[in-house]
Symmetry: C2
Subunit: 193 residues, 2 copies
DNA sequence: CGCGACGTTGATTTGCCTCAACGATTGTGG
DNA sequence: CCACAATCGTTGAGGCAAATCAACGTCGCG
């Protein structure tokens, strides 16, 4: 009966039984349907969400109505609009389930409560965000220095578990290209090898 | 005689006299010449560097030898290759002074020492990296959803202190375009008014 | 069954790059 | 302090990667 959340966070730094209890008490389980949104642009992001099962995307919508995926989150990953969460200002982003999913959510006030009562969570969440920062920084660099085809191949390589289950339209949006162009890239790859 | 570093970090959460001493003892001042590099690709990033005066860039070099600016850091900002710093593996990035600069550097072991002896630094550095994360996430979104001209105007707007003092070649590299194209953008803007 | 999401293909257009050349400015060694 | 090199910004001609627009077939699902 180890709780998925304590299992995950405890893998960074072991947690005592009390700490686990504090944590579990403030994490609410939630079932999310495919295509259901857990954050809508205009709302304040009230939760950090930990994905137990399923898959989500964080995306923005531009002036012309096109959607741009910023991040995916599948099992054992976290998702939130960190900016809105901390400033408590309306988000410009959306979070949507790409599959039927199961998550744990921690409210902003509860996370802040936990930070003060379980100080090592500061360290753990610092590490978590450092990892995300490294990831997104690599992405910026890659976007500047390689072609869409190279980025696609790198994506397949880096996220095999995601590329298996995501529709190509979602991958194209993450890569910053149109679905049509991704289709042409895939064709070229196949022709060559 | 307030130390720039304690002034900066103390602005997030007040620090006691002891905490300030611990901190200051482990921060080494360093003067850096224009164009001098404080991190070379291939080396491990050993320090977090706090900029007291001057300006730096973090950049990568692609297969064809082109440089791509990932981040600038001027007064009261931090710079490091966070990935290399934490993994202690060789960096693929470089950090170079764009001006004659003055910085404080904290070594990796010293920062880890400080994290355990001044626990609130975990919280402060978590906030610092959250702010950087929000910044870079906005950049990813913007790169996908707007033209080079819009990104340039947004840069002027968002970083007036940087755009004043940086050569256009450096700005172009940050925006992910060639200096030639930035020049044409600037001409267009001027023609229009 | 029928509709909407998804993937594909082709013709055309466009944003930005490449390459080359040229002044202006800065800086640096003799 | 000058001469020369290096850096920087600009301009133009031509080219390419990726977008746009339009059409069509397939599949899963209510």
């Amino acid at each position: 009966m180890t709780h998925p959340l304590t299992l995950h966070l405890g893998s960074f730094i072991p947690l005592s039984a009390e700490e686990k209890t504090l944590l579990v008490d403030r994490a609410k389980v939630r079932q999310v349907k495919r295509r259901e949104k857990i954050l809508l642009a205009g709302e304040v992001c009230q939760h950090y969400s930990f994905v137990v099962e399923g898959c989500f995307r964080l995306f923005g919508v531009d002036d012309r109505g096109f959607e741009h995926n910023i991040q995916f989150a599948a099992e054992n990953d976290w998702i939130a609009d960190i900016g809105s969460f901390h400033t408590q200002k309306p988000s410009q982003l959306n979070i949507e389930a790409l599959e039927k999913s199961s998550i744990f959510q921690i409210k902003q006030q509860d996370l802040y409560y936990l930070y003060t009562h379980v100080p090592k969570l500061n360290l753990i969440f610092k590490v978590l965000i450092e990892l995300k920062y490294i990831e997104i920084q690599n992405r910026v660099l890659q976007n500047f220095s390689s072609t869409a085809e190279d980025r696609y191949l790198a994506f397949l390589d880096q996220y095999p578990n995601l590329s298996n289950r995501l529709p190509n339209t979602q991958i194209a949006s993450y890569l910053g290209i149109t679905p049509e162009f991704l289709s042409k890239i895939r064709k070229n790859i196949q022709l060559r090898g």
